[in-house]
Symmetry: D2
Subunit: 327 residues, 4 copies
């Protein structure tokens, strides 16, 4: 892999990159979707608990991962943190080739105040991420009172251009009330933006991955129920983006799983034994496929279904028996 | 994190290290258990598909991860690959402090021929790993015929000193027949070594994580059923080693989850309101705890059970009501 | 088991009961929590897809299950369906002994229009269920237009007395828009009622268990992602109600898992071999327990932690060795 | 549903049946596969813990379920229990129509001694089940010593005719040693019978579903790790038998999931708007499908791939845009 920490020439602002090795044995994953993580910390710190462990979790699922440590502190206005977020996203897009990132598939994952920053980028950004993952996010402008800052209310910024969102929180979070998540979901819904929302019954604020490894030893930070959010978020990313392709039929697969009336005809023709059976029953099979190459994708069973005048039920049964005998 | 590739001054032999960042916010994970991975490849190559993706998967679960690329090739005798394995394990142990590794918790994970090497280290090694994770492993000496090498039969090498093993394979693997796994499990069983064995009905050889991201685009290399092995292996490691500790009760937890007759008494006494209720009913509660500090670990409900003469059923009910009213 | 269909002397109104057999081998499950199911069907039918299959699913998890087929049809006003719901709940409570139901643990599970009826019972009912499970529920009074009926808006009926709710729906449901779920969650939140809410990104209306077995052969009715709602709902019921108790330590358990310094002292004393070791090191152990019976619950390790003057570190280590040697 | 207890005119021998209701709304599940359960109990009793709860679990997954309480007791020879097993299987087959059972899909699930009986039926039976599910089964003839009976060693009875088996057990079972499972797996493997085997590291004997609801209150009988066997067994049955069919594309599905270049052409033609777009670009599309009806199954994207002379890349892009605009 490649690991780097890039400084943005601002105090304490860094972008950490976790990039997979490229390999000829992983041809389907040369370019990868990416997740850019904004840790939480009430805009006064960037929590390590919501940084590297989350990056590694997404990396293990095949994504390029990045962590932005953005400007924070009492005297830092929201606009400065926001600028850092914009800079980081622009950097990923401009350097996507070199970072082996698919620039059309960059998700921002943010937690608590980092969730506010992520949602800000998704709603207010001139250039936007393509998906948002928001963990117990701050959304409402009224939350600014608690952190002595003016922050925009992001439920008010949602438009039809806002990217799809995956949101999770807990109904008894006393630090960032669940109203934040509900109002944001409502705004997305009104604007026709698809979303997924999981509000768990029980859980303290700041759970991160909700596992012992992100608990710092605190019992309340371990919550196997809420921990499901991570797997769910990966499944959701795959729903909207697809997974790494895996549609090549290898020799191995065919050998192992056997050839039969459900095997695509083009594969059957690769085997001498199967070909003999096919041409015995359908002498002009190769000519047929030249005229209609799509038909090679079909199995004998489907061909019988659509063209019973070519492959009769009796023929199908007989070929099934013969193909089985080859195994 | 820290990422390094260490050369062992032998052609193509390297140890790649993936080490978590240390953080004050992750106090319970300063020192971590480790997984050392031996990729497969029939002792003629080391497959990338069973290297970094597997390391990243264990790393995401909190482990320090290492990949050994060992000596391979037609002219390389088994003894040379084995020597590399011994060297790598010794290196981890000798440098455990610097690598933030718990030297008592080092598992070897090997696949196919790498599984043979891992099982060799676990059975024949003078210094042994503390756990073995074996994916569709080569075990039997007769398998040497297929790779034109003499290799030891590891079912014959098992003793009571062999560390516990987690094994998975598929019943229709035609490259490394499942007999290898069965014979090894039998040998472990006879020697009183605890093990876990999952033989799935269906799956080709060489599945690695069995997900699109390790498939190299081949359909047969994606197998969601077999993919469960990874989660199972992590659960198994936690069964035998425990997880990162998470037993500290934070203020937050108590505030959120509420104080009641199931809360340890010592915690109740940390809250002024609760203390008032306790001392009203059990005036000498603090003296009692001085004499018998263990009692602080108990809840009022348990105290009532064991010492109904101190806390009567009526008292319990009344305190329950009062504590609930505090919420 | 016991299976019955009870008629309520109204056309097509029946209560179907699925009651577990009582057995001496299942002592911890003589009385069971119950789930009463209201199938959906737009108040014009009661769908079989949301009836027996759902009842059997909860039954398999140990609950007594009931299905109410309530009054439906063009000319049936909401009040009549509602009356049936009240009658059914009252019947379960009045006959709880005979039905082996824990009257304090009766959940209503309703789908679509059945979700409206369930939420009506939970908000408007004089007598209420203790939990609500709502699948893609109708909530808003405006939904009445689509079914040519006047129905109450249940978001307006929520009070602090409303029981906790588990809600699931899909963000692209075009028949019952997700706004229904969001508004109800908001109302619960405002009234301090705990809830759990899962809004999945994708899924058609009327999924029931979202498995082939409830699909009636339609592809769109199979949705493995949404199907997770059922397992989640059972986990949620166990969070709020607890599970069947399982806290008895059997002889078998102790034999198998071995006695050591983590075994409760009272169990160690049940074994002759262990007792000998204990009394060798702590001659007055039995007297100590008479004075302080709670201590029997502790392991030697905990005793050493709290009372190192009684059990020193050296003693602990020695006893550990001796107990291990017994195995 | 239908529930019945049939007596076989032998003392204490009964067959309990749990049959799903037939419904027009569940057209794909009129006839169902079945699971016939043999509870364990050392051939001296039939344990309730391994009877109804297991039947209900399979029933909830859509199977017809049956429990056989077979002849047991000190003076009952194995042959008598075995005869009961044969009778029960024959009864299911002879009455499959009336029981709505698919006679080609009857699995036997047996536990402990019941696992021995199940494996006996699978290996020695003149008429055999089509699948075996064996929980911590007794297999070896030497086990007869412990129960004062002569029983056949079933590892010796396996032939190529033996049906596929799903086996689970725990490596530290001290009552029925894991050797029983290993030897049976080895025999299946030698005879080319496919199988699945899960040996968990830790668990006492007799776990049944391993949940609180089958624990009888004993802590050791709850084991979430081993409890996975049930879900695994259902997945395995679906692998070998398939699931209830769910391949019908409803109008609803198409409306909701949207039409695009990945939608089968035949579906696009069902919508007026889509048809207009298609005929604009491919005027003779309907004629083409008449000649080659299989093509209707393909999406525009696949057609472009196979017949770029008919659908060019530019056409594809344009149609994609237009179809999206319809949404």
């Amino acid at each position: 892999m490649r690991y780097f920490v890039k400084s943005f020439e601002k105090e304490n602002v860094t972008l950490t990159g976790y990039i997979h090795d490229v390999s000829n044995e992983l041809k389907n994953a040369q370019i990868r979707p990416a997740v850019l993580i904004f840790p939480g910390g009430g805009y006064f710190m960037c929590s390590d608990r919501e940084a590297e462990p989350v990056a590694l979790a997404y990396m293990a699922e095949g994504y390029q991962a990045f962590v932005l440590r953005y400007s924070v502190g009492e005297k830092v206005p929201f606009s400065q943190s926001y600028e850092d977020a914009c800079t980081a996203l622009a950097y990923l897009k401009e350097n996507s080739d070199e970072l082996h990132v698919d620039a059309k598939k960059i998700a921002i994952a943010g937690f608590s105040a980092g969730g506010h920053l992520a949602a800000a980028l998704g709603t207010m950004g001139k250039d936007k991420p393509t998906a948002m993952i928001l963990g117990y996010p701050v959304i409402l402008s009224s939350m600014g009172d608690g952190i002595y800052k003016e922050i925009p209310g992001l439920d008010e910024k949602v438009t039809a251009e806002t990217p799809p969102a995956f949101i999770f929180s807990t109904s008894n979070d006393i630090i960032v009330p669940v109203e934040n998540s509900l109002k944001f979901a409502e705004a997305l819904n009104k604007n026709g933006v698809e979303f997924e929302l999981h509000i768990f019954r029980n859980g303290v604020h700041g759970l991160s991955l909700a596992k012992p490894l992100t608990s710092n030893g605190e019992r309340s930070m371990v919550n196997p129920v809420v921990a499901e959010w991570f797997t769910d978020s990966v499944r959701w990313l795959k729903e909207i983006w697809g997974d790494f392709y895996a549609d090549h039929t290898s020799e191995l697969e065919m050998t192992v799983n056997g050839a039969g009336i459900d095997t695509p005809v083009k594969l059957l023709l690769q085997s001498e034994g199967c070909e003999a059976i096919l041409t015995e029953h359908i002498p002009n099979i190769r000519e047929m496929l030249k005229e209609n190459p799509m038909a090679g994708e079909f199995s004998l069973r489907i061909m019988n279904h659509y063209s019973p005048e070519i492959i009769t039920g009796d023929m199908l049964e007989e070929m099934e028996r013969k193909l089985a005998a080859l195994q």
